[in-house]
């Protein structure tokens, strides 16, 4: 099965945001938008839900906290309790620094791992080149081309209001 996309190439941020918004509102299925940097108004224009990575980070941080608190109490208080100058075996204040570091370490690694899983990025991944200049100075809007009834003339007219530079069709094997 092959996916086909209808692409509009723009050269600035405000045009791509406006074009994306009007295209979605006109009922087309937006496949994705490709930009050389993170355009802050795009997620809203594309109708993307807000990222839930914050919660993922919190969950991993709590995991790090639990592991740190459990292992310190278990190591220093249960498995091999060492008497240091008669101090209590379970000295919570002394365990805080390691707990804090584990919260940060697990949160950081967890959010990195989740980002790669969620965006399906991995070393050596090959992805269809939408436009060679998209990592330089071009902004590309890709619309799903599902059937032959797709009205290319109408969408071209729509995009021309927003100074589209180039229009092309792309098929993914």
């Amino acid at each position: 099965m092959s996916n086909s996309y209808f692409l509009g190439v723009f050269d600035n941020e405000s045009d791509i945001v406006a074009a994306t918004r009007i295209t979605r509102e006109s009922g087309y299925d937006i496949h994705d938008v490709y930009t050389p940097y993170a355009v802050h108004d795009l997620p809203e224009a594309m109708g993307l839900k807000s990222s839930r990575l914050t919660w993922v980070c919190l969950m991993f941080a709590l995991l790090g906290f639990s592991i740190a608190i459990f292992s310190q109490f278990w190591i220093a208080g249960v498995d091999w309790a060492v008497n240091v100058g008669g101090r209590p075996f379970n000295s919570l204040p002394a365990y805080l620094p390691v707990m804090f570091e584990c919260i940060v370490l697990f949160g950081g690694l967890g959010v990195l791992f989740t980002l790669f899983v969620r965006t399906k990025l991995y070393p050596g991944k090959k992805e269809l080149t939408i436009h060679p200049e998209v990592t330089n100075d071009r902004f590309v809007l890709a619309v799903e081309l599902r059937d032959s009834a797709f009205d290319t003339a109408a969408i071209t007219m729509l995009w021309e209001q927003y100074h589209v530079l180039e229009i092309r069709q792309l098929s993914e094997a």
Binding site: D11, N12, E13, S14, D32, V33, T35, P36, Y37, A38, H40, L42, P43, M46, L48, S51, L53, T54, C57, S71, I75, A76, D79, W80, V82, V84, S91, A94, Y95, P97, V98, F100, E101, V104, L105, G107, G108, L109, V111, L112, L115, F116, R118, T119, L121, Y122, P123, G124, K125, K126, E127, L128, T129, P132, E133, V134, T135, N136, D137, H163
Partner: protein
Amino acid sequence: MASTAPEKEDPTAPAPVLGPGQTYTTVTQKISSIITSRTPLGWIIGVALALGLMQCFALGVTWLLIKGVGVWGLNVPVGWGWAIINFVWWIGIGHAGTLISAILLLMRQNWRNSINRFAEAMTIFAVICAMQFPLLHTGRPWIAAYWLLPYPNSMGVWPQFRSPLIWDVFAVSTYFTVSLIFWYIGLIPDFATLRDKAKQKVSRVIYGILSMGWRGSAKHWHNYEMTSLLLAGISTPLVLSVHSIVSFDFSVGLVPGWHATIFPPYFVAGAVFAGFAMVLTLALPLRAVYGLHDFITDRHLNNMSKVMLATGLIVAYGYGMEQFYAWYSASTYEGYMMQNRTWGPYSFEYWMLILCNVAVPQLLWIKWVRLNPIMLFIVSMFINVGMWLERFIIVVTSLHRDYMPSSWDMYRSTPWDWLLYIGTIGIFLLGMLLFIRVMPVINIVEIRLLVPRKGHDKKPDHDASADASAD
């Protein structure tokens, strides 16, 4: 255009963070040309120098492992010497990188965009250098696993979690890991740019692998931005915790001169102070050699100098408070320690420290000094030396005159101390030089955010007026 003219005429407006006339394409070209151009002779000389210095490291380590830590200048009252001094010095240098990449990101300081990548790389290599010392001071690093990591030794005894030294292991390893993640995440879109610009197949393949198939998809950017923000959010308390924990190595101990509550903030400020000095020490020659004046502008020099001045004043306050508490505590030992530090056998080092860290940085009040690269370089070198001396003074003068005068002794470093220290400078330089040659030294994607927008009358994302108040 009438709408842009008044801005230029406003004399109170801050200097731009990006040179005039830059577009997305010129930014990409200029920064990637550092990598794609022919290897400059200066770079080769620099690498040769760095490799030469690394030979010192090899020599120092070999002799250390054959003979043990007795080859260093340590003696009975001064059981901690150059290893801890160098460790703290290097860790401190790393802190500017995280401050620039995380704290200034959260504060929306857009001038950070052109120095963050470089400063983050500095953090990574400085922490690598720092980690050599705790590892090597054990004398037998191959069996150090159960002294440093939570792994029980052959008798089932675990590390001591009440000890600041084990806190340090967690702090430094977390700091290194999170800094590396942050740095790599930032590099992914830039690797994609380099992949698409690469003319040779080899570089296309290598940058292709490193860029993980990045295509600038808005769905990816959406999660990517959130990741950056979260990493910045967790790195900010992390960077404060790391040098606080390093200061606990001293302040948790009951030694006069170490046991002070001022240590954590004083160490964190000192770290940022030293780190910015090192950023300038490296960025000023880099800017001159590669002609990066459009990216590292006068505004950057000015702002970095102001951060150095502010943190330098905090450090000076720390020195003042140490003197004050020695008197105010009315403790005989504290009082004697401070008198010995100021007027004793190491008074030359103490007053050199005051010269380097307190007197010379006052030149940064003068705008001409802040904007003059040569003057700024000289001031930074003073601070680099001064911050090393600070750790020397804290470690040695607090220890060398013990409670019992019969055990007093002087501390003198040996050539083996010098070889290891100089050797880590070689590791650092080699790392930085390789980084400059193969990776974009300035964050291309974030510089695009500073390029004036085309088409509509829209200013860059974080416009100049928004952050003028912070300058």
